[in-house]
């Protein structure tokens, strides 16, 4: 019983990080109808930049810089790899492939700048342990959960209560009508891409403090798991991304008990099953419900 509880808590913690990555996928997909396969690469680049800053300052400054760096990089990817294609009315498949190309370029840039070796994350948050009833936790885990859930709540407020959020929702639902009433759709596309990318970098930094390391491979894998979580929950749906991430985290942790060396495979088994059984995801509608 206590093992299951422990697994549930661990699953929710890492799952909340997957949710953040999935939110980026879903935000970008709902507005551009493109799966951004540069998402994992943007996450890695932001994380490695954030790590350099963290080593000279502290975790929170590193987190902020990582988010800003990835946000900028995301805006650049949208402007360079997607916008020119949309202007020429290129098919969505071409835009999708363009994001793969952008991702490769970012990966190579990261390799040149930071090198191939795994970088340790210095202990940057207090290692204090505490017990909450039957559950043991650490300050690191609490920080991860707090940042993830806090950002999700903030995103909800942003989308539903602010002028920018209203512009996003209008663009998702009818871009032409949105433009006709004064929304600068190109700017909304770029800023949404930047927002999703910033969330990815935050997730990358949280995974860094959780596993005490960061490298190109783990970043890529994190991106893929975020994608699975987004599809799991129903791509394009914000609550779906949150739910999909948490469900994936828990499933991984429980799955690892029986298949410990196949921990990372659990995500992809889930992806295959969900695509076969319920391709629209848990909260997705067959006709695709967006933001």
């Amino acid at each position: 019983m206590s093992l299951l509880l422990e697994q549930l808590v661990n699953g929710v913690i890492i799952g909340s990080v997957y949710s953040l990555i999935a939110l980026g996928f879903s935000l970008i997909f709902s507005i551009l109808e493109v799966i951004n396969f540069a998402h994992g690469s943007i996450l890695v680049m932001g994380t490695l930049i954030g790590l350099v800053v963290l080593q000279r300052t502290n975790f929170w400054v590193g987190l902020l810089i990582a988010a800003l760096a990835s946000g900028l990089l995301g805006a650049l990817v949208e402007k360079a790899a997607i916008y020119p294609l949309r202007l020429r009315r290129a098919p969505l498949g071409a835009q999708f492939i363009s994001t793969i190309g952008a991702g490769m370029m970012i990966d190579i840039a990261a390799l040149v700048i930071f090198g191939p070796k795994t970088r340790p994350f210095p202990p940057s948050l207090p290692a204090t342990q505490f017990a909450l009833g039957p559950v043991r936790g650490s300050v690191v885990e609490l920080a991860i959960l707090g940042v993830s859930l806090g950002l999700m709540a903030l995103l909800q407020v942003l989308v539903n209560r602010t002028r920018f959020g209203k512009a996003i929702r209008a663009t998702v639902q009818n871009p032409r009508a949105a433009a006709m009433f004064g929304v600068d759709v190109d700017t909304v596309n770029t800023l949404t891409f930047a927002l999703g990318s910033a969330l990815a970098a935050v997730a990358g930094m949280l995974m860094g403090v959780y596993y005490n390391m960061a490298d190109l491979g783990t970043g890529f894998l994190a991106g893929m798991k975020g994608f699975v979580a987004a599809v799991f929950g129903g791509i394009g749906s914000i609550p779906g991304a949150v739910l999909g991430g948490l469900a994936l985290g828990v499933a991984e942790d429980i799955g690892a008990t029986w298949l410990s060396s196949y921990r990372d495979a659990v995500a992809f088994i889930i992806l295959i099953v969900i695509l076969l059984v319920r391709p629209q995801g848990i909260l997705g509608h067959p006709e695709r419900q967006k933001v």
Binding site: R169, A170, R176, A177, M180, F181
Partner: protein, 235 residues
Amino acid sequence: MLELEELHVYYGNVHALKGVSLKVAQGELVVVVGANGAGKTTLLRTVCGVLHPRGGRVSWNGELISGLAPQRIVRRGIAASPDNRQVFPRMTVMENLEMGAFSRRDRVGIRRDLETVYGLFPVLRDRRGQVAGTLSGGEQQMLAIGRALMAAPKLLLMDEPSMGLAPRLVTTMFETIHRIRDRGTGILLVEQNARLALGIADRGYVLETGRVLLSGTGDELSENHLVRQAYLGGE
């Protein structure tokens, strides 16, 4: 004043408007009638900036506006109730109306215009919390017009406001359009329902396969035997 001069617009490879010239004076209600495929929707899309002309020009109060993006044109005081309504389906009625005022910052004016819209279309007030996608076709039409009015336009573009309405509601709709005009808003209306539309028009144009065939006052066109034969069902 809106002025279209020798407008040539292509829809893909189709030459949809072939040299259309047309004027709407301040506060005037101008109707463009024509069959399906005559170029009516293309005309409105060009004025609001969704399409750009290959030849000719659109000017608004003396300023060239063809080539401007839609979000710039709405800020100059031209708003549209587009073809097929195009309301935001997963936003509430209230949110749709707020989106109409997206380009404005004057909170007091926005609140006043919201009351005006609710006055013109009381059903929208009753349904203000309802998601727009679940409204009936007629209610969505009212919402599309209300949303355009929320932009406080000096010129309102309307594409087939009678489409999909029950016959009883069509008459009410045209009365409402007349009231909007009487409040001082200029209107450029394209309609297949020529009889009712010409009945309330100050002036009208007959569009046929991308060209202006006839123009005149609403009454003149209603009396014209060509118009009667082609668009008013014989007699």
